[in-house]
């Protein structure tokens, strides 16, 4: 199951820092991204000259470009009917971040339905190593996770904090009103009970195909094909990619190392 080649690279900068607070206890931490989306993204280019395109806000009445400073936010109450909000009005009700992950309850991690999990972050101790270690160790030993909430970038999330592979992990959760109750789906109300014979067979199949969870058995075929395609295109074809300068220098360094090695023979 451990397959380090197959994990995403850690990021170098924390995206948030603050403390886990449990009552009066504080554990200062930094928050790092744990999930790295591996999807390919394309930039939209002008077919004629291969130059990148930018987006502009155009008024649907006179087709003129509108500057950011001349915009307000509108909430659509009925089709094409808006109530207007000023920035100050929205700012006033936004929760302010107080740099705290407030935990107020300890639960079993397994008791959380997976449908509520949203996104995971790695918590790293910010100076206070002992407090961090204590919290992590007690979570691991007791099989418990801390429930609470945090405000990040003006949005408040329910979160769960738990131990995973020698680190404290924070996973944001969905609010209950964000998750649809499947019992409300009409087609599901008409299910009938399977026969004993059917069940016997089904159980047999499941037993035969039982195994351990191993995510590395699954590969992103589209991504692999895409990587190949990009490689082929880069070899013979035109590239008008906007590679950041740093990357280019890195590329030159790799070429240099190779050449210096060859010249040294």
């Amino acid at each position: 199951m451990e397959n380090d080649q197959d994990t995403a690279k850690p990021s170098s900068r924390p995206i948030w820092s603050g403390s886990i607070t449990i009552g009066l206890v504080n554990v200062p931490v930094k928050l790092y991204t744990m999930i790295r989306d591996q999807a390919f993204s394309f930039r939209l280019l002008h077919n004629a000259d291969g130059q990148p395109l930018k987006y502009e806000r155009v008024c649907i009445r006179d087709n003129k470009v509108v500057d950011w400073k001349d915009t307000v936010k509108g909430y659509e109450i009925r089709k094409n009917e808006f109530i207007v909000f000023k920035k100050e009005e929205l700012d006033a009700i936004r929760p302010g971040s107080d740099q705290r992950i407030r935990l107020d309850k300890f639960i079993s991690l397994l008791s959380i339905d997976p449908v509520y999990f949203e996104k995971s972050y790695i918590l790293v101790p910010d100076k206070s190593l002992d407090a961090y270690s204590l919290l992590m160790t007690v979570f691991r030993q007791e099989g418990k996770a801390g429930m609470g909430k945090v405000t990040m970038r003006t949005k408040e999330y329910p979160v769960v904090v738990y131990e995973y592979r020698g680190a404290l992990i924070l996973t944001t959760l969905r609010y209950s009103n964000e998750v649809i109750n499947p019992g409300d789906m009409e087609d599901l109300t008409k299910l009938k009970k399977p026969s004993e014979k059917e069940m016997e067979l089904a159980v047999k199949i499941i037993k035969e195909l039982s195994g351990e969870f191993n995510i590395t058995e699954y590969r992103d075929g589209y991504r692999e094909k895409m990587e190949k395609l990009i490689e082929t295109k880069m070899k013979g074809e035109v590239i008008v990619a906007e590679v950041p300068k740093k990357e280019e220098v890195k590329e030159l360094m790799v070429a240099l190392q190779e050449t210096i090695k060859q010249l040294g023979k």
Binding site: M253, A255, T259
Partner: protein, 286 residues
């Protein structure tokens, strides 16, 4: 870049080959990767750079004189020029850093002399510049080069060929340092005259060199201080062609100079010019 190179790169994003969208970083990378095949030939030769800082499609400029702000570690060769009536500080490319430095100056085309700085007046290369005038086809040029090779073989001369990266072919004979440029020039001229006699399209004299549909064996390149585009130098051409050393057996009708470019040349396994400088020969006809 720290220890790997003394060159500090500038404007890596600058588009140099606009048709292909190639940036200066790509040009530098090419020269880094081709260096093992190129440096041996360049050693101790005066360099003339053709720089294209605004891109291969814009006007470039010749740089015979070492440019202002030349780093102290770039070797130079100082010599009085009769035509310029002053001392000229020529660049000599004896290491990887200098090659990279030139690439960073957008010196796409790197030209070298036919002699080395230790013996500047004595050529060690004889240069047949096969230069076609439209509507001559490249197949005609190939024919002519093969004919030249036949003649050289008959006289037991070992010759090497490369594409010019443009429309012509370059044939080179490495020679012992016992002749002056007048002799090597006359040597090539004699071959031209001999071949022109039996051909409708080959011309041996400069005055005919721009006649439509002819191929001129340009012997006038064999002059002290004159340069030839270096083997493996890029050309400021739309397709980023390279002046590419070939095996004689590769030279067949249908071959096109555009086949040899920034993308393809590095994939070539062997260097047909390997050992060229160790094969210096006498010009005495045996």
């Amino acid at each position: 870049m720290g220890e790997l190179t003394k060159v500090s790169f500038t404007n890596l994003d600058k588009i140099i080959y606009p048709e292909l969208g190639l940036k200066k970083s790509r040009v530098i990378k090419y020269y880094i990767e081709i260096a093992p095949r190129m440096l041996g030939f360049l050693k101790d030769r005066v360099i003339v750079m053709n720089r294209y800082p605004d891109g291969a499609d814009k006007d470039g400029f010749y740089e015979k004189d070492a440019p202002a702000g030349i780093p102290a570690w770039v070797e130079t060769f100082n010599r009085y020029s009769q035509t310029a009536r002053r001392d000229i500080n020529h660049i000599v490319c004896n290491n990887l850093d200098t090659l990279i430095w030139m690439a960073n100056l957008a010196a796409l085309e790197i030209n070298t002399t036919l002699s080395t700085i230790d013996n500047y007046d004595t050529p060690d290369l004889v240069f047949f510049d096969i230069d076609p005038e439209p509507p001559c086809s490249f197949d005609d040029v190939i024919d002519m080069a093969l004919l030249l090779k036949e003649k050289l073989d008959e006289l037991n001369f070992r010759s090497y060929i490369k594409t010019s990266g443009k429309k012509g072919l370059h044939v080179v004979l490495p020679v012992i340092k016992s002749y002056n440029f007048k002799q090597t020039r006359e040597f090539v001229h004699q071959f031209g005259k001999f071949m022109a006699r039996g051909s409708d399209i080959i011309v041996s004299e400069f005055r005919n060199s721009r006649d439509p549909g002819t191929i001129f064996i340009d012997y006038l390149q064999n002059i002290r201080g004159k340069t030839m585009i270096a083997p493996y130098s890029l050309r400021a051409q739309v397709r980023a062609t390279v002046s590419t050393p070939l095996e004689w057996k590769e030279l067949k009708k249908g071959l096109r100079p555009e086949e040899f470019n920034i993308f393809t040349v590095l994939k070539r396994k062997n260097d047909p010019w390997e050992g060229l400088l160790e094969n210096k020969q006498s010009l005495e006809v045996k």
